[in-house]
Subunit: 212 residues, 2 copies
């Protein structure tokens, strides 16, 4: 794998490559050219070749790319085989929705625990995942090295929970609270990935409002 800083634009396209290649593979497609893949993904062939060249040489002149092996390469690039572990903070509707319906395993993540403050939830299991008291979080993280913490807590709790996750040694925070976490100054190198529903809907609002 080449060592060069890969631009964020490229990184954000990688999961789409993975998704499309998975679909193609399941549809039985064995090989594909950059121009065919581009057509199906709404990208130029140039861009696809340029993107992939950040990571290596996966194609063959005159042939194109083998769908399955390219898919595997992208999975590897994305770190999907690294057995990351993940815990969820906040078992409200959204936390529960993720636990019950989101396939962490498909992304190479193992969901190991959930945490909440509600006494009626603590000690129960949801889809086989144990719910602990938030009070046990720090100890848990110490005992169980964890790659990512998911923040599905109320916005008012976001900053404090984020700090505890960082102190607990997570490498990333998947933030569903409608706020910008400030982790730069922690010097921890922790990555925050935001899923801002509200921002997303407002973007849509703008786009439909501008229509003629």
């Amino acid at each position: 794998m080449k060592k060069q800083k890969v631009s964020s634009a490229v990184i954000r396209r990688l999961p789409r490559y993975y998704r499309h290649l998975t679909d193609l593979s399941q549809a039985g497609v064995v090989r594909i050219s950059s121009s065919a893949l581009g057509k199906s993904m709404n990208l130029t062939a140039s861009q696809i070749r340029q993107d992939l060249s950040c990571f290596g040489e996966f194609g063959q002149q005159g042939y194109g790319y083998n769908v399955e092996s390219l898919r595997d390469e992208v999975a590897e690039i994305l770190g999907m085989s690294r057995s990351h572990t993940i815990v969820i903070l906040g078992v409200g509707n959204l936390g529960r929705a993720l636990i019950e319906n989101f396939s962490f395993a498909n992304g190479g993540f193992e969901l190991t625990a959930a945490f909440d403050v509600a006494p009626e939830l603590i000690g129960t299991q949801i889809s086989g995942i144990q719910v602990y008291s938030i009070a046990e979080l720090d100890q848990y993280l110490q005992d169980h090295p964890t790659s990512v913490g998911v923040l599905t807590v109320p916005q008012s709790a976001a900053a404090a929970m984020s700090e505890r996750l960082i102190r607990g040694g997570v490498k990333g925070i998947w933030n569903f609270t409608n706020s910008d976490l400030h982790v730069e100054n922690s010097g921890s190198g922790v990555i925050v990935e935001n899923v801002h529903f509200a921002d997303s809907l407002l973007t849509l609002s703008y786009l439909i409002s501008e229509e003629p």
Copy 2:
């Protein structure tokens, strides 16, 4: 409001401006300069002035911007005062989480109905929102002009539901299914805004895997 095509990069920053200005306003801040706002949002002062200049002149030399009135301008630009209506397709965990916990009203949207196939849900209300049978969708959209449809259905149903929403005359689709909808060829001008959890988590996976 100036008429120029505004770049997607700028549009995606607008909700963040709105969010930060709301916070500032609630914190009692009356005026702010582009450089101070930039510092708090991790943008350059230039970029902020450049962004805002796409839509008009909202500042004053030597003073900066009035927080509250800039916030109101951004809200207007985002179309938040247009009384958009919205319906949810799919009342699983995620649909329910949105109905019960997401404040559509904060974004200027009125949530008017939900649809599902489950007999035990149809006819009930969730947080005051009536759940209809998916079979009634087309008639409903005909009777109640709707701005946006939210797709929280299983991926297998996404394409069909998307088509029915478009035929029903929505202007936008808020897509939570892990798939790329192809609406370009419908010639309808419908806007799709995606919230791809899986892509987001894979991006995070990449970023934490690259760390030293």
